[in-house]
């Protein structure tokens, strides 16, 4: 007769198989969340080779918690002795009550419910469909915002100018130091990097021209817009997303107010007003960043300023400023759209914030490419 017990466990058991094909398992000690996993594994291996018709489990000497009960339940439904009629004796009424709440059927239902992997075709279809829906929503949204801005232009009383100025301050004025610092450093880097190749051509003095052009036409507006997207666009999306989660948007709608008119238009108008300001600061800071490098290369300040002046035309500045207005509108409206699209649950706001930054930057670069192509053709 096999007889085994474990020494270092708080629980001991005594397994015996009688010649008539019935088995008996006596437990003593404590089956808790720590001892159960060990007991489970050793019992499984002990019972693996044994075939019994009837099986009696005696738990009069046993104290157990839910983990232990799970083991007893598994034993009692013949989980380790397939085919045997199992009889569990000595369980206290309290634990019997708990044992009744265990159910194999529930477990099977859970297994059947495990989400299955969707096929590749389904995934592609779903992704395409959601992309198309998103495009449709964007077009509708552009229409709604344009309409809202127009309305506000013709009837300025409709606008909440206080809110516009608040956004202008938070997203514009407060962003000036960081935007200036960023472009100052970028200007320095460009001056350093271009000084060497231009020196080989004997044209080092044209670093100033290059800096003026690249800052006013390209990097000024783009850097300002990217900073706006990361710093304020994400805040717009999070703010509107939280309002959606808190049902504040529903409250607006039932009051008969359009969330676009009430929340988005102000932000878009503020965005359009503040990006040119940010951009001008970015342009100057970029140029200022290049000047120490040029002075270090031995050019006098007056010469540098003259080079910048002669290389820059009003058209370059106008291009930069008009670009920045487009970027401002893009960042503000896309971020608000992502905020309004926020779904349910705690992750939704985070997701829409991420989406706002990604979409904003993507659209900024896309718009930049289109404008660059158009202005190149126009200049020819």
């Amino acid at each position: 007769m096999p007889e085994k017990s474990s020494v270092d466990l708080p629980v001991r058991w005594n397994l015996s198989v009688r010649p008539d094909g019935t088995g008996k398992l006596e437990f003593a000690g404590e089956l808790d969340a720590e001892s159960t996993p060990v007991a489970w594994r050793s019992l499984e291996s002990e019972l693996a080779g044994i075939k019994v018709a009837g099986f009696e489990i005696d738990v009069r000497q046993l104290v157990c918690d839910s983990a232990g009960l799970a083991l007893l339940y598994h034993l009692s439904i013949g989980g380790m002795t397939p085919g045997a009629i199992v009889n569990l004796t000595g369980l206290s009424p309290e634990l019997q009550h708990l044992l009744r709440s265990f159910s194999k059927e529930d477990f099977q239902a859970l297994q059947e419910h495990e989400p299955t992997c969707s096929s590749f075709v389904e995934d592609v279809g779903a992704a395409t469909w959601s992309w198309l829906c998103d495009v449709r929503q964007q077009i509708e949204f552009i229409g709604e915002v344009t309409l809202g801005v127009m309305k506000s232009l013709f009837r300025p009383r409709l606008m909440h100018w206080k809110e516009v100025f608040r956004v202008f301050e938070v997203a514009g004025v407060n962003a000036l130091p960081v935007v200036s610092l960023l472009t100052f450093l970028v200007g320095m880097v460009i001056a350093f990097e271009s000084a060497q190749p231009l020196e080989q051509l004997g044209a080092q003095v044209f670093v100033a021209n290059l800096l003026g052009l690249v800052m006013s036409r390209e990097l000024g507006p783009v850097m300002a817009a990217i900073m706006l997207a990361g710093r304020s666009g994400s805040a717009f999306a999070a703010e509107l997303g939280t309002m959606k989660v808190n049902e504040e948007l529903n409250a607006l709608q039932t009051m008969g107010l359009s969330p676009v008119q009430f929340l988005v238009v102000q932000r878009v108008v503020a965005g359009i007003l503040l990006t040119p300001v940010l951009t001008v600061f970015a342009m100057y800071a970029g140029l200022l960043g290049g000047i120490p490098v040029l002075l270090g290369l031995g050019f006098p300040l007056r010469m540098v300023l003259h080079q910048v002046q002669s290389g820059l035309h009003f058209g370059d500045l106008a291009e930069g400023i008009s670009k920045s207005i487009v970027f401002g509108a893009i960042v503000a409206s896309v971020s608000c759209l992502r905020g309004l699209q926020t779904g349910e649950g705690p992750r939704a706001v985070g997701e829409s914030t991420t989406r706002s930054v990604v979409s904003s930057i993507l659209l900024i670069i896309l718009a930049d490419a289109i404008i660059a192509a158009v202005t190149y053709t126009l200049r020819k």
């Binding site: 996993p37 709440s101 529930d106 477990f107």
Partner: protein
């Protein structure tokens, strides 16, 4: 009283507050093993704050909370973890993790604290869900559950590690009377069937009379305990008229 062997929680000279503002000053009471104990009071009397001090979320200004012989105020590290494992908490909104299904929520403590097999963990989690009557909603996300179901799932998660003590923060808040009565029945069943001690904060009189063995009533004016006893005795015999009125649901 006075730290009798059958008391599970001893609150001693507890003074709590936010910054300079005192909420409760020098209060003392005991929770006995196996009883359903309710903390009552008007809005703003510091019921929920008291509960959060009893479960060790906040540090009191002075005094001590002792849970089965160990102070939760002074315990640190493993000692503190050992006390925390003795009780479960149901927060006001259920506080289920929104990205996990009901059964995954209930399974979470098992996943973190035990070496049980997935099969055993699922069996235990599902048995707790069946205990609270949610076995058919196991795979649903919290967002798809009603308020009452979320609280039931919250209770299932709170009892999955077999605590001897359960704290409930406003279990009936935001529930309709029928769902609320169902929750009361569940509390009674868990208290009688499993011998769990309950400490609940509530101002739902119906559930106080149906489940609570003893109550303390907090007094926002004196920042102390106005009365302590069984709810039906206090309703007739409390010293302060406003406590009797409060328990009879009359306007003061």
């Amino acid at each position: 009283m006075n730290g009798a062997p059958h008391s599970l929680i001893e609150v001693r000279d507890l003074t709590i507050g936010y910054g300079d503002r005192l909420v409760l000053e020098g209060i003392n009471f005991d929770v006995r093993r196996g009883e359903v104990f309710a903390i009552l009071g008007v809005s703003g009397s510091g019921k929920s704050t008291l509960l959060k001090h009893m479960i060790g979320l906040y540090q009191p200004i002075r005094g001590d909370v002792v849970i089965s012989g160990a102070s939760i105020v002074h315990a640190e590290g493993d000692e503190r973890l050992r006390i925390l494992r003795k009780f479960g908490v149901l927060y006001q909104g259920g506080a289920l993790f929104g990205s996990l299904t009901a059964v995954e929520n209930v399974r979470l403590p098992l996943d973190e604290f035990t070496d049980l097999s997935d099969f055993a963990k699922d069996l235990i989690a599902l048995s707790k869900l069946r205990l609270v009557g949610l076995e058919s909603a196991a795979t649903k996300l919290p967002a798809d559950l009603s308020g009452g179901m979320q609280k039931r799932a919250g209770i299932a998660r709170a009892i999955v590690m077999d605590p001897c003590l359960l704290f409930l923060d406003e279990p009936s808040a935001g529930l309709d009377p029928i769902t609320s009565a169902g929750l009361d029945a569940l509390i009674r069943e868990l208290a009688r069937g499993l011998g769990i001690t309950f400490v609940m904060v509530t101002h739902e009189l119906a559930s106080i009379y149906s489940v609570a063995d003893r109550v303390v009533v907090l007094d926002p004016k004196t920042r102390g305990i106005a009365a302590e006893g069984t709810p039906s005795w206090l309703r007739e015999n409390a010293n302060q008229p406003w406590v009797r009125q409060f328990l009879k649901r009359e306007a003061a």
